[in-house]
Amino acid sequence: MKHESNERTSFDKSKSFEPKIVAFLCNWCSYAGADLAGVSRFQYPANIRIIKVPCSGRINPLYIVKALYNGVDGVLVSGCHPGDCHYISGNYFARRKFALVKKFLEYVGIESERVQFSWVSAAEGVRFAQIIDKLTNEIRKLGPLTYFRKGSTCKGDQT
Amino acid sequence: MNNPYIPMPARIEKITTENEARDIKTFDFSFVNNEDKDGFLFLPGQFAELSLLGFGECPIGIASSPTEVGHLLFTVKRTGFVTKHLHRAEVGDTIGIRGPFGNSYPLDLMEGKNVLIVGGGFAFTTLRATTMYMLEHNNRGRFKELTIVYGARSPGELIYKQELWDWEKSTDLNMFITVDKGDERWKRREGFVPTVLEDIAPSSQDTVALVCGPPVMIKFTLPVLQKLGFPPERIFLSLEMRMKCGIGMCGRCNIGHKYVCVDGPVFSCAQLDELPQEY
């Protein structure tokens, strides 16, 4: 991601709401896909903050809830396609976990677009940029996640 | 009604790393506002809560003596969350100090008596304060003979090294330094503090013993002191407890009905024998 593109997007930040999205990318596929997208100059919004993790199986639901609690508006967890996992079965285990996490957070009342999961291989630079674009637009439409952020509901501060 | 939880700002003037493992540092503070400086009257043995905004507080013994004007020393080992961030502070940073809390070593009881100080590892902080207080020229006369037995795991772990060597040469006190295991450059005594204490065998006649060190050292030192004839009411321990408020309200640092932050941290063995063995 070139430096000046950052300047441009942050310039029009004052006008419209720019969501903060955390992307947990698996080091072997999705991170390489993101890198490919950058190297080949595919443009996609700069709202995501990438956190590199060894495998999508490493993501504990605690980290997703912690990200939302810390004031992030959306979370993406992306790993290798089933079968390509560097650790053979990391993403298979993750898939079961993500299915239950997604359904539960949706059930409880957090918009389903806020927490998304995807498989991106190292060669799919274009697809990575499209996913991020789609994700950012969806979350931008939803607006900031205010009802779960730390400090948002001040019941505790009785004088 | 001032809020007892607001820390007094203090600037870090000097940081010295005390041991080779670089996880024990001594911080020298000076209060930012003068009225705090004048109000901070303490005696050796007391402690204070060092407060880092955004991280929390930790109770640390005051390592400097009130006689060392212009210096306020705290020796901190990096173990927990707050101490880890305190070790990242640099000279010139401002942190908060709350206190002084707790009671001091029994200076009045020690008046006109011999004093035996037994210290171990990095728990020598408040004992250093007491030593400096007693060595101060117009205080020295109030106490008779002063014997110090201080040891650490290895030569690198000894703290206040420069002062130790000076005290060894000085005639005001007899200083015994030992390490559990020396290295090739170590020429002095080797051996655990309790065994060294047994060899020196200071007379318990008219002597007060101040002991502070890791629990294992205390466990083996107390029987030696009893063997040497020290009665429980003349052996004093400085205890360590998890503390938050420092003023006897948050209820967590109690041993029996005594709060370590208010009725301690210095207890005589006689007092401790009455209290439940839960510390």
Partner: protein, 347 residues
Amino acid sequence: MERPMSKECLMYKEDFEEFLARLIEGHSIFCPSGEDISPGIKKVAGREQFALHRGPSHFSFKHYFLPQTERLFSFDMASNKIDASNGELDDNKLVVLIGLRPCDAMAIELLDQVFLQRGPEDVFYARRRRRTRIISFACSEPRTTCFCESVGCGPDAAASADMVIFALKDSYIVKTITQCGEELLNNTGMNLDGVSTEKLGEREQMINESRDRLEKVFTSEDLNGKIMDFEASYWKQICQKCLGCGICTYFCPTCHCFDIVDEVAGSKGRRIRSWDSCMYPLFTLHASGHNPRPTRKERMRQRIMHKFVYSMEQYGRRFCVGCGRCVIHCPVNLDLRLVIKEIAEGK
């Protein structure tokens, strides 16, 4: 609050309505909400919102004086500035807590010892306590779990109350205890006549009736006689079924332990004080990993010894008012009364 000769007067139903209405104008009033859920107390806007409920309220009034979370001060880490302005209270009107039972009133008296009398005064507690007047109601129908008599409280104990009201069948006897109580009564400008001996007899009878309903579980001599033995073997057996949750300490009106932690968002933050419980593992965990109270046995022993033995030496008072909340809410029905009885009988 010195205790002048207490004045007693009689109020009939309508006088009582009038008395309440006038109180509500001049002061902000809180009373038990009567529901079985927290916070258990509510602000009274109109006369109809005040109702008398049987036995102690679901939640004690402790959290009015010592909220579960309280901001000690805010700070800005960048500029190292501390903002300790805790903002003036919503209005400087006097606050009146009405509808407390004697056990809760005594609990507040015990908390006063901790936060006002023993060490340096706690600013936050003192600010609320000084502007609050307490009107307690004598207990006419104690619950099966109440044992206030056994710990030195009673259905008509005054304790920290400024005014005690005895609700008889068709009338109320108002007894002012402290100077502030008397001022409170005079401010409402009600001129009431004295109490006839017949009404006094009715009150006596009501109090004795409720005393009989109180279960005599153990007498205070039981406790004095049997100083709880720290090394005894019964502790292990008593605490075997305890789950180690914090219900008994959070619902106890005299438990006052708290934790101090910093909370940060960006560079701004605040230091808060929030309830803590000696039943939790982190309560006494040292940074070195050593924990003087590693298992539930030690923690349960600390909780009971503190309330019945240590507090006698620290404050000369037992820190239990017999409200029974820890008995009602314990998920495994570990009954403090049976524990004390077993210890008293030296089982």
